[in-house]
Symmetry: C2
Subunit: 450 residues, 2 copies
């Protein structure tokens, strides 16, 4: 190996929002920082794209009023918000039927709606019993963690509509199937995002606003301010801990510092070679937090024709593959854009089938939602996050049953000179840009306080 570069105090692995936030906090406190990024760009799961000349977010994009860190960070960087379009009716495509509805309450059977309301109350109570940052130590944690969301549902959810609703919700939130996710993990996710309603809603919820010009500008501007201390195209191969320092290896160069923050998803931290094996509980966790599967798709039309019919573009479906859709029309309404997701098993399947098959599927689904006007798009852009080698999926990693109670305590625990960041390590808004910021700040504070 070459002689390591020793021009910094702290190395940060990953130039996503978490790593950039950590680097900013450390730099502000007078530390010399170097950020090593595997890709040729910053931003991680936040990524710019383009459709018909309009800039779009290929990754995370929305923000809710409870995400105060993200709102403050964006404001400080001069990135403004605008509301998600909500005028008019939403659509539910459920069991082969298309239904319009005006409120936040989907047109399911009264019995199912009643059950969902009762479930929401139950989840609020159960999630509220989880100690912040230590869900594994809740009184009922062992029981809840022994169940998948699916097996829990079979026991506790009576109406078929409510079960279907919860399946769509699990996919939409975690990009995974209810069979794969621990019920305790789901409760913790609800707690972190305040409650299920807040996670799902537009007005007052996590999809209330967007960033003018795109959320990707937030990490971009953070990186611009950090300047030369970010090194792109530098996947970290190995990390060696010594008595007084840590050496980080990349293909091009080695770097030496006193501490390192790994600000990547768990599955990527698992790719790195460590000269001192990580503690058993940490290795175990890194092997047990798979990323969800998601493909984000934008479709452009000459006009936002759905608006003219009193529709706001929002769709949820339990029987179509392109099953969550929102309006993404630019402010000048020069064209109309819809954005949506294939998630969980749908994403895996449609990733395999290739872009042309996906496009055909998306158009077919949009026609079934919006009619024949949807058949002739002028633009189509999809982003298959399962095929991004430096994400391995999206939006977020989840925990299968039995993982949080046994391996969870290692989630944020430093391993010697190695500290952990990334939205998965947040205690609020895990899976969101806001959680990424929180995690970066917390990791920086660990170092500054230590």
């Amino acid at each position: 190996m070459s002689t390591p570069t020793t021009d910094c105090d702290v190395l940060v692995v990953g130039a996503g929002l978490a790593g950039l936030k950590a680097a900013r906090e450390l730099t502000a406190a007078g530390k010399r920082v170097r950020v090593l990024e595997a890709r040729d760009r910053v931003g991680g799961r936040s990524k710019p794209g383009e459709i018909c000349g309009h800039t779009i977010d290929l990754g995370g994009q929305w923000v809710g009023p409870d995400q105060k860190r993200l709102l403050a960070e964006a404001a400080a960087l001069g990135v403004n918000t605008c509301p998600q379009y909500v005028e008019g009716d939403s659509l539910l495509h459920f069991d082969g039927k298309r239904r319009r509805y005006a409120s936040d309450i989907p047109p399911l059977s009264p019995l199912a709606l009643l059950e969902i309301a009762l479930l929401e109350r139950r989840w609020r109570r159960e999630a509220g019993s989880l100690p912040v940052g230590a869900a594994w130590s809740a009184p009922q944690a062992a029981q809840w963690d022994s169940e998948s969301v699916a097996s829990w549902m079979r026991k506790h959810v009576r109406t078929r509509d409510a079960r279907q609703f919860l399946r769509v919700v699990t996919r939409a939130l975690l990009c995974a199937e209810p069979e794969q996710v621990s019920y305790l993990c789901m409760l913790e996710y609800m707690r972190q995002g305040k409650d299920l309603r807040t996670l799902l809603d537009v007005t007052g919820g996590a999809q209330q606003d967007k960033f003018v010009g795109g959320a990707w500008q937030i990490p971009k501007r953070m990186a611009d301010q950090l300047g030369q201390c970010i090194t792109l195209n530098s996947p970290v191969l190995g990390i060696d801990q010594h008595a007084d320092a840590v050496t980080v290896h990349t293909a091009q160069a080695d770097y030496r510092a006193t501490q390192v923050i790994i600000a990547t998803p768990p599955a990527l931290a698992a790719k790195i070679d460590y000269n001192q094996p990580l503690p058993s509980r940490r290795w175990g966790l890194l092997q047990r937090m798979p990323m969800g599967a998601v493909i984000k798709i934008h479709v452009a039309y000459p006009t936002a024709f759905w608006r003219q019919r009193g529709l706001n573009g929002a769709v949820a479906s339990n029987d179509r593959i392109f099953n969550v859709v929102f309006d993404q029309t630019p402010a000048d309404q020069s064209i109309g854009i819809l954005v949506g997701f294939m998630d969980g098993a749908h994403a895996v399947e449609m990733s395999t089938r290739g872009e042309q098959a996906r496009r055909d599927q998306v158009i077919a689904d949009l026609v079934s939602y919006f009619g024949d006007d949807a058949a002739q798009p002028i633009g189509y852009v999809d982003q298959d996050w399962t095929q991004e080698a430096w994400s391995l999926g999206g939006y977020v990693a989840h925990m299968p049953p039995g993982v949080m109670t046994q391996y969870g305590p290692s989630l944020r625990e430093p391993c010697g000179r190695i500290h952990w960041a990334g939205t998965e390590t947040a205690t609020q808004w895990c899976g969101y840009l806001d959680g990424a910021l929180q995690s970066g700040q917390r990791a920086a504070e660990e170092i500054l306080g230590g």
Copy 2:
């Protein structure tokens, strides 16, 4: 990158039993093969060690009469078997009580024994319904895969003793907790090992015999016969697929061939960089097959004092940490040796606490099983597989709920020029040396037949 070495037709990643078997089959068929091994030794999860001058297996060691591939391979290599010692009584340490028993049937309550017998019949029937090599397509696969073994038990097992028994069994077989393992995965494991009884038993079962001198000699002799084509200390960093070839990168050199076999556990295959992203379903699987956690421990005494008291050294326990023990006394009886395991959550916990704490725990547990004579060992050797960077755990990877049905079909499916081996890809005796051999042979046949 350097100019790749091009002296072989097929590259094999991993010199465990699977990789070595593949290399032998290919070599025998006239192919030029190179095996790249990350460690400084061959054998993978089969590894030699020493206690008081006696050679021992720190990894896999037993063989049963149904493991015909392994028996044939060993015989051809001149490695002989000898029976596991069974004369005398076994011990059960259950809920604070120590009980001796003479048969294969542990002294549980009659009701629990009846229930276990009924469960075994049920599992034989259900496992028998799984299509070989395609458990995910069984009629009830979706239902079974939605449950953890723990949530399934809560529904279907009435007596506490039977539940406790099944917990000990899950740990002992898969080195994981019932909460973490899909019920479908458990059924498939039982099918692969014939049935639960065969997996657990000594006489007639998977622990009937040992190899004289140790199982580690099998890969060692296979490697000796392969000779120069094995390159040690060469972790594979990346694999590039081209139209007509594949290039495998290590830190020291690059290698080019027409095909590559990856004969590592899934979690290690996930560490490699692939120039063509793996199919979504394959990435998904590699992120979702964690290794179990296990520490294997040998303890030596001046004599096999337990034999003198009519005990065969076998212990199973639901309330002690060193909870599965066997007699491992050498044939000449010059000393007495016990061998056993800490598995699942116990292994993770005791790995964290360090070797001295483990040793104290092991001795305390052995004293509670065998009395004060166990308090003064003359030798202690433990092997913490969770800390082996090139295994990441042991004995085997398992699937959490929801994984087999969604991601299972990618288990053996080649990705272009990349073929997959390793005991996890076996269709018989997954998790065993026998399964490793089968997988290596199957991968070689894919290439020879293709």
